[in-house]
Symmetry: C2
């Protein structure tokens, strides 16, 4: 099996991720009626697996789908996707789809669909070009706004991303790495796959409304507590973001990443901030020390774990 791009568990079988498919009539496609989560697997262990699984279950409940596997079974499948891919650094996606209607008909009430579960591993990725990790990302405050929670609850990790994709074009048209979207109320929300932070008057601040509460965002709160830094979720405007002395983003795809340019203007003196650097160093140091790590081998079926360990 060609595992170089990753391994999927789809329709009850393991396969190369680039061969995995879903029916075009599944509302997971035709109505983006699906929730997901993304978990990093690093040197044989998942990071903050319990937090990701709890968020995934909350997402499922919100759209009223139920994965056809127990939590324990899903963890085993996820570990198996990583093991079979042979990757040391991977991200595993898990999806609960609305699923097809009985008899394969095109339409029906969502409550009557047979919910599905898909998992797949892909190589670990960086949410901005990797060369920016050291020098700082260039972000773009987009004109496109983030869909508000009263329409699409952004605490639920979902695929309704037309706003994010449009903003991504705005950013790349302007030569920036990634966009940040404001809410319809004019407050900073998030970018595609990351949360946003500023440092102001010694406080580490991040928006609190109309966004996904990222697991890495939660990590930053933990790191700040450990470092004796005051961290808080607050409403922030575009001006707050532009005027901040330090800006960074947090993501499963890269941890803590400095932002050094916002809409073509340098942040502070244009170099990654000192506090950002400290938090980023702490993040990777703690990761390497086994921070909230769950060994893949402990999740595999016993006979597989034993064989994998041989």
């Amino acid at each position: 099996m060609n595992s170089s791009k990753g391994i999927a568990y789809c329709q009850g079988q393991y396969m190369p991720v680039d061969e995995a498919v879903i029916p075009i009539l599944d509302p997971a496609f035709t109505k983006s009626d699906v929730v997901f989560d993304a978990i990093s697997a690093w040197d044989g262990a998942f990071f903050k697996l319990d937090d990701h699984m709890a968020r995934f279950q909350r997402s499922c409940e919100y759209i009223r789908v139920k994965p056809p596997h127990s939590d324990e079974e899903m963890r085993t499948i996820m570990a198996e996707c990583v093991r079979r891919s042979g990757m040391d650094h991977a991200v595993v996606f898990i999806l609960c789809t609305r699923g097809r209607f009985a008899g394969g008909v095109a339409f029906g009430h969502p409550k009557d669909a047979e919910n599905g579960f898909i998992a797949y591993s892909v190589p670990y990725y960086w949410i901005v070009p990797k060369e920016r990790i050291g020098t700082g990302a260039h972000i773009w405050i987009a004109d496109t706004r983030r869909a508000p929670d009263v329409a699409i609850n952004q605490r639920v990790k979902n695929f309704n991303r037309m706003d994010l994709t449009r903003a991504q074009f705005e950013a790349s048209d302007a030569g920036a790495d990634a966009p940040v979207l404001l809410s319809t109320d004019g407050f900073v929300t998030e970018g595609p796959g990351f949360n946003v932070w500023i440092i102001r008057d010694g406080k580490v601040l991040t928006p609190g409304e109309n966004l996904l509460e990222g697991i890495t965002r939660q990590c930053v709160f933990e790191l700040c507590a450990e470092a004796g830094l005051q961290a808080e979720a607050v409403n922030m405007t575009e001006a707050d973001l532009r005027d901040a002395g330090e800006v960074f983003i947090s993501s499963t795809g890269g941890g803590v990443i400095a932002v050094t340019v916002i809409n073509d203007k340098p942040v502070g003196n244009g170099a990654p901030g000192l506090t950002t650097g400290k938090l980023g160093d702490m993040y990777w140091k703690k990761r390497s020390e086994g921070w909230d790590a769950t060994a893949l081998d402990d999740l595999l079926e016993p006979e597989i774990a034993q064989a994998a360990g041989d």
Copy 2:
């Protein structure tokens, strides 16, 4: 080929629609990065095909995708999906997907993807239960709001429908047939697959903002002009809808359909309105007379059209 559920054209081949699939890594799925349109095919002819194709092209341009077929080729494929399904009354869906990245990798910039085209026919459907067509639909004004155009431009026919699906659950929980969503500004927008109309002081009124400008909505404007009725797009509140003497919805899936119950309260005297009935009768009479009809046979490849006509 089992054509009972419809025929799809997918990845360059015709197949039973319930066997057609898309890759799970296609951003059309993982980011709902896809636009579509839906055209009725009735007794051997498409209805208002030019209008649908023009709207589809506008949708494509908005999200910056380009179907890998000419307009003429797409029309031939669409006709072929109907012919091969053997259905007298069908709806054909056409989709332009963002498509996969070169090499089948999981991530990339949307501008680098290879856009795809999918078409499929399914049996003609009614947007509300068919038994309501005569007696009037029961609708429910949902708490969930429609995502605003500044986030997701609803003039672009798209699959980002988490708001619509959540509202659909609200409606069915309340025992209604379908939801109507308000905008974040508190104005009536649309329901899943239909536009909304009221008749007030002899005028036929429909919302004009934050909604898909339905082709059947445009038909109603045409019918009103023909019947000497004044029709207009205006902002309308929930109270305007609840207090109207007549309410109806318009959709490719059923034409003009009376609404007789809104949030458990009867509309007017609880029976379908007279003007609604008149517009509905006009709609189907004109359809039967070949209103803006494009014969499928004129779109098929010449040799196929000849064989189909044998």
